[in-house]
């Protein structure tokens, strides 16, 4: 697998990965009816660096890294990761997380924070725990899950 900075030509591939995740609305706090333009603008915004994971030349995942806060909070980064739903379980998220931790250290970040990991997204929670993240708190009922109703979101954190 090759992980490289996203380029404008990747917009179609990024949208193909994001669209089913957004439409399902179960793992990201983004509008379920978000348009392609808004989603790509969000994911590749000027406030972040965006990467794509390629396998055999095909984009199979994408992630961004950005400062979680500005000013005095800019030494803690935040990331978001999405994998092609058809390619789940092949280590793509794992590879992207490893890459992001290395990249964060290279950029001089001192910690990484995930603000809003949906508690019912158990595979993600387990993976981040394997990577050394700890849930500092549960935000009670902070996510309206389309099937399960109000569920908790986790704030996960690790130093670098």
């Amino acid at each position: 697998m090759n992980i490289r900075p996203a380029e404008p030509r990747d917009a179609d591939a990024i949208w193909a990965i994001l669209e089913p995740v957004l439409r399902a609305g179960e793992t990201y706090a983004l509008p379920r009816d978000m348009t392609r333009a808004d989603a790509v603008a969000y994911w590749t915004g000027a406030d972040r660096e965006t990467f794509v994971a390629e396998d055999g030349g095909r984009v199979v995942g994408t992630y961004y890294i950005r400062p979680n806060q500005q000013g005095g909070g800019a030494h803690v980064c935040n990331c978001g990761y999405v994998t092609d739903t058809a390619m789940a379980g092949r280590g793509i998220a794992r590879a992207m997380c490893t890459h992001s931790l290395d990249h964060a250290r290279a950029r001089g970040y001192r910690a990484m924070q995930f603000n809003f990991v949906i508690s019912t997204n158990e595979r993600a929670v387990r993976l981040w725990e394997e990577f050394g993240f700890r849930a500092l708190t549960r935000l009670p009922g902070a996510f309206a899950h389309p099937r399960l109703g109000f569920v908790d979101a986790l704030l996960m954190f690790r130093t670098l």
Copy 2:
């Protein structure tokens, strides 16, 4: 005191209140060198409602309220408050917080979350506690204080 929606004509007054707070860099995770244009655009952005508190026709404080997350997280709101530093201790922040809680309920929000209360901003922490907010966690060393070095930030939350 009268609290009303901010209008474009309030930009000068909002900037006069924000500027010393931003330049000090001790209570908000925003760039200390933020320009007037960027600061006013941030504080009155399209993703939020912005209010000003007037006393005798003079703007003495301002706050915003916005969804803290999009999509399935949009039922929890987030606010930011700033008071004219020359008018501290006169109940302006208290009046704005009361207004924001009422406004949040009227808008149908179910909870209010402050993502990043600087732990050394003791007056703010005490005030939010009086208003029923609890620190769900401390984000370790998440804020680079210009005088004190790395200090914790608090995530504070209350249901409505």
